[in-house]
Symmetry: D2
Subunit: 129 residues, 4 copies
């Protein structure tokens, strides 16, 4: 996400202003990249495709929700991060089964891993707060 937009967003966040904004920006970017990788991977007609579609939708929903924090609460956010991490893990596991034969699956698995890590970092910072 664009840094200027991110600054503007911060001013609109109300109660959630204590969020670590750099972790949140990294998390939104990782969700966006994962949605895109999963969308491409889903067109390969391999058995990971349904998991990739599920993961693309979950990552888009996760990203958008972080952009609409006025309609969020910490407990809901943590529950959604858990769901997003679980979905990314499943998609990564399925894509890794094709890692040797498909470069797209390798890239999709890497995007899922990066998204999981970013969600975990975000969640960790919320626990600490």
């Amino acid at each position: 996400m664009d840094a200027m937009m991110m600054d503007s967003m911060k001013g609109m966040m109300g109660d959630m202003q204590t969020m670590d904004m750099s972790l949140m920006q990294a998390c939104m970017d990782a969700c966006s990249a994962c949605e895109q990788a999963c969308t491409v991977c889903s067109t390969q007609m391999m058995d990971c495709a349904p998991a990739c579609m599920n993961c693309a939708d979950m990552c888009n929903t996760m990203m958008r929700s972080m952009m609409r924090m006025q309609g969020m609460a910490p407990a809901v956010m943590m529950s959604m991060l858990d769901a997003c991490m679980a979905m990314c893990q499943l998609c990564m596991d399925m894509c890794m089964q094709h890692a040797e034969s498909s470069e797209v699956c390798r890239m999709c698995a890497a995007a899922c891993k990066a998204c999981m890590d970013a969600c975990m970092a975000m969640r960790g910072s919320m626990m600490a707060a």
Copy 2:
């Protein structure tokens, strides 16, 4: 969801065929109705709008994931149901604050409640299995 499509779907579900299909159909329908109510409610420019947008996206993602069970696993499904219930609860709470002045908020809150109940029933059946 159409009953004939539901029957066909069952044949494609692989490992997840033990799911209670009538509860799942009810859950998908409740998610769809909730997405629609939240989408309309989000245009009222009241302070529930961001929660309604978050809820609309989560419900759509939940519904689609139930239609793509080949790319799901029970633990991931339960985590997503938890996130969906948490989001519906938050949206309902925010809309209920306008229940006296807005009929749309009342209907949106009712759709959120129905979606939570359907997700809870679905989750309960998975715990029992």
Copy 3:
């Protein structure tokens, strides 16, 4: 879409209140049914899958836009209806190639046809207005 919600929506539509609400309700329902049929069909791993995913997303976007007419204009709406009809036609054509072997493709093609017809009726009523 629920009839009570539809009535409430009408009151929020501003300039677009001249829309034929029964055609619009039918169109939203057809979009929703088409999104669902396409989502299920996309998991069959047949060559129609990418078209089904495109069609599911376009139908969801079309449906939601009709629920947010305050952020619409007639010319934009007609352009989106054109895009939705074109996408449904393509998806239907691809699914019809598997009509003999797959019941899901037959149902998906029928949902695409119904959605095209509903969009055409909606568009026709806007031209007449």
Copy 4:
């Protein structure tokens, strides 16, 4: 979109391989940026919000469809680009009415303009082909 993923995508595009891939990559990136700007802008509770939500959904659908060209055809693509440009124009016009008072609206309008331009360039290259 990531350049390596883009290269892999090219190999999967079948009939549509004549597309100008650098214009397409720019167009997908502009759609993604526009979806994000519109999503943030929609939470400001200003009268542009419903247009921003419509635009966010259309841009996401446009982006994903370019990632799933196996399920696309040139005529459908052009129709979707027309719809996306029309929606971006409307959203930009509405946000520009708040340009003096809202920095977020200014950024959203700029993202809409950039998305329109990228769609126009993409469409132009398809006409020439």
